[in-house]
């Protein structure tokens, strides 16, 4: 795995030492899937880091231009495979904009409920994986997966699949909630704070966790804004920007919740922000489950097959668990999009990995990568 190579420019930067070049990945356990980091080390210090991706490239955007509008929906599940429902929502929102459809109120509430449940899944998985990267092998991750399992059961009884849900449709949702679903969801939401309390007791005060994360991988607010970072990473650097508050898409305008923000932008803030966001998500879930109205779940104008939006373009964006998830679709009036483009939050958040890792140790690079929260299905598409 390790190769000795002379890297004249980087060596000069390191004061003439010979550098050790380490290729971490693409099958390294700390790299979250098939991701590779070319790291040049001076002793233990990172002097250069080059992220290499594309190992999981599946031609998603080209397939989307070949498929019908509906046919792309199940493929969006496979972008960020941990949060398939928010991907569905982003794509449905864009095509609704393009075709002039509007989801009924009940469908909007169901979408908010599912999106917030997805956020719980994503953030608890992230916290588990981050701790796994720090060497807490198994325990935190398994606790997080145990809670995720309960939410996946909810998804399965509603959509038929645990991960590849394929649930949202242009102008609403595919099917209505089965009987007893709301009660089961309320039970899960009511039990979740106990898990968060335990998880925090387990980790937040832990001296080793704090020593490994505090002051590590600091991302300044200015750099974060300039690099186009979105989502929890941006808010951990102290920038108040949440598309749920900015755009108020869906029924988020009616929900009462706060946007947690960090101060220093280090790895500990990025971990903490996720825990605090989960608590806010639980608040949103309680309100949405309480206010869920009756009525239809699909726009009567919506067509399942042969959707041919008028020629034009639309950009739809949502606050995905990882950041701003945008879809850009151009229609030429045909049955499939002329151009179909995705703004993946994982990829764009990954671009500043080098800036955060430089000057730190190789062990810190692993922790910083864990706190960025990437899923390679979305990075490579």
């Amino acid at each position: 795995m390790t190769t000795l190579q002379s890297q004249s420019a980087a060596e000069e930067a390191a004061g003439g030492h010979q550098l050790l070049e380490v290729s971490m990945g693409p099958q390294h356990p700390s790299t979250h899937g098939v991701f590779r980091m070319d790291v040049a080390l001076d002793g233990e210090t990172v002097v250069r880091l080059k992220p290499v991706f594309g190992y999981l490239h599946r031609n998603h955007e080209k397939i989307g231009e070949k498929c019908s509008y509906l046919g792309s929906m199940p493929y969006t599940d496979r972008l960020d495979y941990i949060c398939s429902l928010t991907n569905n929502w982003g794509y449905a929102l864009t095509v609704e904009k393009l075709a002039g459809l509007a989801a009924p109120e009940r469908a909007e509430y169901i979408r908010v409920i599912l999106a917030e449940l997805t956020r719980l899944i994503n953030h608890s998985c992230l916290a588990g994986f981050l701790l796994q990267d720090m060497g807490a092998a198994g325990t935190p991750l398994m606790y997080a997966f145990r809670e995720r399992e309960k939410i996946l059961d909810l998804f399965e009884s509603l959509t038929g699949a645990r991960m590849m849900c394929d649930y949202m449709r242009f102008g609403g949702c595919r099917c209505d909630l089965p009987p007893g679903w709301i009660e089961q969801a309320r039970r899960v939401v009511a039990r979740y704070p106990r898990f968060l309390d335990e998880f925090e007791a387990l980790l937040t005060g832990n001296e080793i966790v704090r020593a490994r994360t505090e002051g590590v991988g600091v991302l300044s607010a200015q750099l974060a804004v300039n690099a186009g970072i979105t989502g929890p990473m941006l808010r951990a650097s102290g920038v108040n920007y949440d598309i749920r508050k900015v755009d108020r898409y869906g029924v988020y305008g009616r929900m009462d919740f706060r946007v947690p923000m960090g101060e220093r932008g280090d790895t500990f803030d990025r971990y903490m922000i996720r825990i605090l966001e989960m608590r806010e998500s639980l608040k949103i879930l309680e309100q949405a489950l309480r206010d869920l109205p009756g009525g239809p779940i699909l726009d009567p104008k919506a067509k399942l097959r042969n959707l041919r939006p008028k020629a034009g373009e639309a950009y739809g964006r949502i606050e995905g668990p990882k950041g701003e998830l945008g879809f850009y679709v151009i229609s030429d009036g045909g049955p499939n999009p002329y151009r179909y483009r995705i703004r993946p939050p994982s990829l764009i958040n990954l671009t500043i990995l080098e800036d955060m890792c430089l000057g730190g140790t190789i062990a810190d690079a692993v922790v910083i990568l864990g706190s960025v929260d990437i899923v390679l299905g979305e990075v490579d598409r």
């Binding site: 498929c67 019908s68 509906l70 046919g71 792309s72 929906m73 199940p74 493929y75 599940d77 325990t139 606790y143 145990r146 399992e149 309960k150 059961d153 399965e156 009884s157 509603l158 959509t159 038929g160 699949a161 590849m164 394929d166 595919r174 099917c175 089965p178 039990r191 335990e198 007791a201 387990l202 980790l203 005060g205 832990n206 001296e207 080793i208 966790v209 704090r210 020593a211 399942l304 097959r305």
Partner: protein
């Protein structure tokens, strides 16, 4: 930095370990090959073809309209029409598939074929132990493997299947009534005189 946080964390793991023996919330797994959880009603894996009655060849609901073949995102369905028409449950003459293959290694279980099917002919199965050592024939399923009786569909998706059966029963009685009326002679409502038609429009 005095280790209190670590000790607190260890108490938490001890509580989870002890809790997993009596609290169902803390132990959510089952030992898979020995135990399996019953699938939920909405669960879906790969499609199957529904047939009515006891004979798969005669009662297949599929009319080889190829809508699912066109809509399938990964293009895993392959249909060849049988040009000899057969009457369906309403007595209408319909085509039937001569070949209906699904490559289950390509199918991604999205369920779009089920949504677009206007004949309620293709539905989602819940089998999941599909591994085989024959990677060509074993993964390309034809009518023989895909056709399952309506009773099986009733067993998997009870709510949906009952709705469909009720609707089909209603359609059938309607079409029988229409056929009986037709057989009895030209019905007055079917061919109204021009004057009556005008009156209705006004």
């Amino acid at each position: 930095m005095n280790g209190v946080g670590i000790i607190k964390g260890l108490i938490e793991t001890a509580r989870n370990l002890a809790g997993s023996y009596h609290d169902k919330e803390r132990l959510t797994t089952v030992r898979y090959p020995e135990e399996t959880l019953p699938p939920v009603e909405n669960a879906r894996t790969i499609p199957f073809l529904v047939y009515d009655g006891g004979d798969a060849a005669a009662g297949l609901r599929c009319t080889a309209c190829t809508i699912c073949e066109k809509e399938c995102p990964p293009q895993c369905i392959y249909i060849v029409k049988d040009m000899a028409k057969k009457p369906d449950y309403l007595g209408k003459m319909q085509l039937h598939p001569k070949v209906f293959d699904i490559d289950i290694s390509v199918c991604m279980s999205c369920g779009i074929c089920v949504e677009v099917c206007p004949f309620d002919a293709i539905k989602m199965d819940q089998v999941f132990e599909l591994s085989t050592d024959d990677r060509f024939g074993g993964l390309l399923w034809g009518i023989k493997q895909l056709a399952k009786p309506n009773d099986y569909f009733q067993k998997l998706h009870r709510t949906e299947a009952s709705e469909i059966d009720a609707r089909r029963e209603e359609d059938k009685s309607k079409s029988q009534a229409a056929a009986a009326a037709k057989a009895a002679g030209p019905a007055p409502a079917a061919k109204p005189p021009p004057s009556a038609n005008k009156g209705a429009a006004a």
